[in-house]
Amino acid sequence: MAATSMAAALAASLPAPSAVSAAPAPTYEAIPASMAKVIDIEADIPLTCVQLDGLVVTKIIKHAREAVGATAHGLLLGLDLDGILEVSNSFPLPHHAGEEDEKSAKASARHQASMLRSLKEVQADDSVIGFYQATTLGAFFNQTLVDTQAIHQEKLRHGGIVIVHDLSQTARGNASFRAYRLTAAFLDAYKKSNFSTSSLMSHRLTFSSILEEVPLKIRTNPLLSAFLGTLTETRAGALPSAAGGSTTGSALEPTFSVLDLGTGGVTRNLEQIVEAVDNYRTEEGNLSYLSRQIARERAKAENYVAKRKEENQARVAQGLAPLPEEDVSRLFKIPAEPSRLESLLLLGQIDAYGKSLAGSASTGLVKMYATHAGSEI
């Protein structure tokens, strides 16, 4: 065990694996014996953990904060080593407003391709391993996420991952990153594009079993650690400039925004819950309308069949040849059972909003008692 981890540590410090595992170069370098165990060309070692580089953390936070109103999303670059998926770089994708899907998809693909080419030229990792998405108040379930991830799951090594960054959590003082991938059961149902009740039942799908979480770690490389150390160090300021007095302090000052008692976010959270519940009700209304329609059509068809049978029995009793059984499905169009995916996702959203509301309420409670205790002294 110790030998493996040592090899992993060695391997992590070398830039070489990218050339071995990812590059489609015709001449393969011989894999050193010490690393043979940890490099898997065929992607056989299952992923156990996602490791996020410090650079990617800041990049995602910046992009998420700047793209207000639109959801920020981008691609993650890196490679996997001994079951640990190392995310070493990322870049944002341009946001396209809904018009002209075909065109924007092409532009986005072009953007991706040329960005990857450019990054390769400066020795950055250029293999796509997933994508990231910013969210507010924890609700990241939506159709696009699932679609993109389903495409990635087929194309990428290890199926790719999605990293979800919660903007409102970060603003509250707890930078939150989570890594997910689709579960096998969901993927199976998605491939058959069958989300009818029976399919959901056979796959045991609820909103909590669409995605499975992969443990995520944050890592800073030694250079970054050293630099951050210098930044957080307190030292005397530069010579007094002509405008102001001398300053003391580190470039990274401590903040205590987590201790803020303000409950401004709660109203918005409640509004979003109400909105999500409304959406869910509409969707449920649609579903029940459709299922009523199906039931009506089916009843009609059954009536017709029963009538025909009766008639035939009467004819047989009279000694006449029975009428041929007609194809019922051609006479009556029974609509296909509606997909429940949308309502499943909406439920997931409601749950996520509820979860984040419960979280902020419980920390709010703690903070309130803390202030209460403080003010009584």
Partner: protein, 300 residues
């Protein structure tokens, strides 16, 4: 907030000098840099080839009056030999176009290099970037990664001004400009996370962190600070130390905050609100769970 070793340069603040005529771009007197730009530079430095002494790249950002805000950066290919320096301009333009598409607000404001020596090549590159940023002045940020022995890590910013009787591109004076780290308050927690991670021996930390843990740390550090202040006040009262009136004023302002609102029944009211919200949130979650289970039952 200084970002590097102290320098002996005097910075004359241009705002007090009479404003130049409108239309003429002002000389930058203050430069701020976003952590993303800084970390990208460090990453680029890590990924350089063995033959490269230093790496250079383009800085993107925004300008307001005489302040330049560097918001991101990207690496640019270049090669330096004893005879010549070459910058891949095509690459620079392609990358700029790609970045511009995602974030149209950010424009080229200058360039960065690692290491802190400024030479003739620096002047030449500066000249090239001045054409890109015209009519504004290009800024240059030198990041010392502190890897070489005897050098301290830090960031320095410069603007250039021509020198000599007949200005030549390879001659210029780099004038230091103060530089600060600047980011939005909402991004602070991300940096805290990284700073905490960097302090751990393994340089890795697992996510997610519970809210309560962070609150606990914050309360702990506030309590430490109070202890320090208390020790100081006691020392002053006992006559061991001479009191500083400025500190006294600060303490008055900070600790004299009124908590009356909380005491007058405000506490109970907000307590009820918070409990109500907590109840509601759990109710909503329970309902969602129930309906997702109900969807799994057969209709018949």
């Amino acid at each position: 907030m200084p970002l590097g070793p102290t320098s002996s340069a005097i910075n004359i603040n241009g705002s007090t000098v009479s404003d130049p005529a409108p239309g003429v771009p002002r000389t930058p007197t203050n430069i701020t840099i976003h952590p993303v730009a800084l970390f990208s530079i460090l990453d680029h430095y890590l990924r350089r080839t063995d033959t490269q002494d230093r790496v250079i790249g383009t800085l993107l950002g925004t300008r307001h009056d005489n302040e330049v805000e560097v918001r991101s950066s990207f690496a640019v290919l270049h090669s330096e030999t004893d005879e010549q320096v070459a910058v891949d301009m095509d690459y620079h333009r392609t990358m700029y176009d790609l970045h511009h598409k995602v974030n149209p607000k950010e424009v080229i404001v200058g360039w960065y290099s690692t290491g802190s020596n400024l030479n003739t090549y620096s002047a030449l590159i500066q000249n090239f970037y001045s054409q890109e940023t015209g009519p504004h002045q290009a800024i240059h940020i030198a990041v010392n990664t502190g890897v070489e022995e005897g050098q301290e890590a830090g960031v320095k910013a410069y603007i250039s001004s021509p020198v000599g009787v007949s200005p030549k591109p390879e001659n210029c004076v780099f004038v230091p400009v103060p530089v600060e780290l600047r980011f939005h308050d909402a991004e602070k927690s991300g940096l805290d996370l990284l700073a905490n991670t960097a302090n751990l021996p393994s340089s890795t930390s697992s996510q997610p962190i519970a809210d309560l843990e962070i609150i606990e740390n914050a309360v702990q550090s506030v309590s430490d600070m109070l202890d320090r202040v208390l020790a100081y006040v006691r020392a002053v009262l006992a006559g061991e130390k001479k009191g500083d009136p400025a500190i006294g004023r600060y303490l008055m302002n900070t600790l004299g905050a009124s908590t009356e609102d909380l005491e007058k029944g405000g506490f109970n009211a907000s307590l009820q609100d918070t409990l109500m919200i907590s109840y509601l949130a759990n109710l909503v979650r329970a309902q969602a769970e129930v309906s997702s289970r109900l969807a799994l039952t057969a209709a018949s």
